[in-house]
């Protein structure tokens, strides 16, 4: 685990030294950067990413509160703790509405109070960031979904009217075509409703347990058996470690990635090869396909809701499979990314935590110079 990176800003050398010493005792693994002038704080934060800023209020040239307000504008998710002298508590309380995450009176600065202030600031800021990201994600999803719901609803009504007119007018040559369009629109609606309910379920707090990746992949292979037969496809799986995750979510991740790999594929034998390796306290799964590949400029877009890189007559799809996969991975404290080249297939990498016992085991075996165990 990397040390906590703190930036300490105070013009008084004695206060600076005292606070620095307290921080080193309060937080075992810490890197402290010091500035004596608040005017240099912005540059310092631009040069280096800090986990938390501790800034004195009473400083010449630029006071700590004004500095905190400027920093908040540039770094909305930087935890900032304002340290105040006795008598400034009222001002400090107002500072909480002005961009400061927490404050600590110098008169009450102890090892414990300093540690708690820093931890609280980091935790609160992290939660605020998560809430903002989730809200933005939900807004984007709702916007995309609303648009995509309107289209099939409109088409069903329009083609129903066309068919009615044709029947009333004694013309039927285009009726079958119109009915096919209606059917397609209704199917699209049904797919969107399914996806919406899956998305909603992913928003609930999951329970985590040690999951056998191989068991999950065997289940996915079994559920996709008809599709594999239809496409002459294959799923090849190497032995994999267990992960700490949620069974239903992991199944959805694997299924959505594998289906994508088989669908966007012009090969006579669409294949997805799944391999895994241990990286520290994580298991990284690699899903490699021999599909059509993705241009680099779209690599980030593929995880956005309802983003499609191909028109629906070429490849059908909700445009939400990878969005849901990403949401499920993030909900399990994981990461997902894609490496791809047009014409050369894609590799989706999913990194998830190892169960604690397995992580301890892998650390021990690495220390002994032995390759990590896989189950």
């Amino acid at each position: 685990m990397s040390p906590l990176r703190l930036c300490l800003i105070d013009d008084d050398p004695a206060e600076l030294a005292l606070t620095q010493e307290l921080l080193r005792q309060a937080i075992p693994d810490v890197d402290i950067h010091i500035e004596c002038d608040a005017r240099l704080a912005l540059q310092a934060c631009e040069n280096q990413a800090f986990d938390c800023l501790i800034i004195d209020y009473n400083m010449p040239f630029l006071d700590g509160l004004t500095c905190a307000q400027e920093l908040r504008g540039a770094f909305p998710y930087l935890p900032i703790v304002l340290s105040t002298s006795f008598g400034d508590e009222v001002l400090a309380a107002n500072a909480l509405t002005s961009g400061v995450t927490d404050y600590i009176p110098k008169s009450r600065m102890t090892l414990e109070s300093l540690r708690r202030a820093v931890e609280h600031a980091v935790r609160v800021t992290k939660q605020a960031r998560i809430i903002d990201e989730q809200r933005e994600e939900l807004e984007n999803f709702a916007y995309a979904l609303a648009h995509d719901f309107k289209q099939p609803i409109r088409q069903i009504r329009t083609f129903a009217t066309l068919i009615t007119e044709a029947i009333e007018g004694g013309r039927s040559s285009d009726t079958l075509n119109h009915l096919a369009f209606m059917n397609g629109a209704a199917k699209r609606l049904a797919d969107l409703v399914d996806v919406m309910s899956q998305y909603t379920l992913l928003g609930k707090a999951p329970t985590f347990e040690a999951i056998s990746v191989n068991r999950v992949l065997d289940g996915v292979r079994a559920s996709l058996a008809p599709y594999l037969e239809e496409r002459c496809g294959r799923i090849v799986v190497s032995p994999a470690p267990s992960i700490l995750g949620n069974d239903a979510m992991m199944t959805q991740v694997a299924q959505n990635i594998i289906v994508n790999g088989l669908k966007y594929n012009k090969s006579e034998a669409p294949t997805v090869i799944v391999t895994s390796y241990v990286d520290g306290d994580r298991c990284v799964m690699k899903f490699e396909d021999n599909g059509i590949g993705i241009e680099s400029r779209y690599i980030e877009d593929i995880f956005k809701p309802l983003t499609r890189l191909h028109n629906s007559s070429e490849y059908t799809g909700s445009g939400l499979g990878l969005t849901l996969a990403r949401k499920a991975v993030l909900a399990q404290n994981g990461e997902i990314w894609c490496e791809s080249e047009p014409g050369k297939g894609s590799a989706f990498l999913v990194s998830l935590p190892l169960p604690p016992a397995q992580h301890a085991n892998s650390e021990e075996t690495e220390e002994r110079g032995v390759a990590p165990l896989t189950t």
């Binding site: 916007y143 609303a146 648009h147 995509d148 309107k150 289209q151 609803i153 409109r154 088409q155 009504r157 329009t158 083609f159 009217t161 066309l162 075509n177 369009f181 397609g184 629109a185 779209y298 309802l306 499609r308 890189l309 191909h310 028109n311 629906s312 007559s313």
Partner: protein, 140 residues
């Protein structure tokens, strides 16, 4: 025979492209419709049309959410290209979101039309596009 009005319809959904095309062709004016199923194909079509004997379209009907290159990027490309920017672009989309409307006009759309739910309303909208834009286009 009257010279046909050339329309480039940029629409990825087959059903919507069919409906729009049928409605345009059933209108009063003689139209010649080319379709592009995504933004990349649309821009390619326009760039090739610059030097072709048939010339550029008289009007572009542009959907917003397209694969590969979405409608906003297509619009931006058209309106920033000296050879293309004079072509009227009418956004024809399911979206009635204010941010889409504002953004489209900011990018230079000449008109923004939300596809209505009912067929009669859709016909009325397409006919009004024909009457206004094709007449304007044809003014000396």
């Amino acid at each position: 025979m009257a010279v046909p009005i050339k329309v480039l319809l940029v629409e990825d959904n087959e059903a919507d492209a069919f409906l729009t095309q049928e409605t345009l062709e059933a209108g009063k004016l003689h139209v010649q419709i080319a379709t592009a199923v995504d933004g990349v194909i649309a821009i390619k079509h326009l760039r090739e049309a610059v030097d072709s004997p048939d010339g550029l379209p008289d009007l572009v009907l542009l959907d917003l959410n397209l694969p590969r290159l979405d409608g906003r990027e297509v619009l931006k490309t058209i309106k920033s290209d000296p050879a293309l920017r004079h072509i009227p672009v009418v956004m024809l989309t399911s979206s009635d979101s204010e941010r889409d409307i504002v953004k489209s006009y900011q990018l230079g759309a000449n008109c923004y039309v939300t596809k209505p739910v009912g067929l009669e309303s859709f016909r009325a909208i397409v006919n009004s596009i024909e009457e206004f834009w094709f007449t304007v286009v044809r003014l000396p």
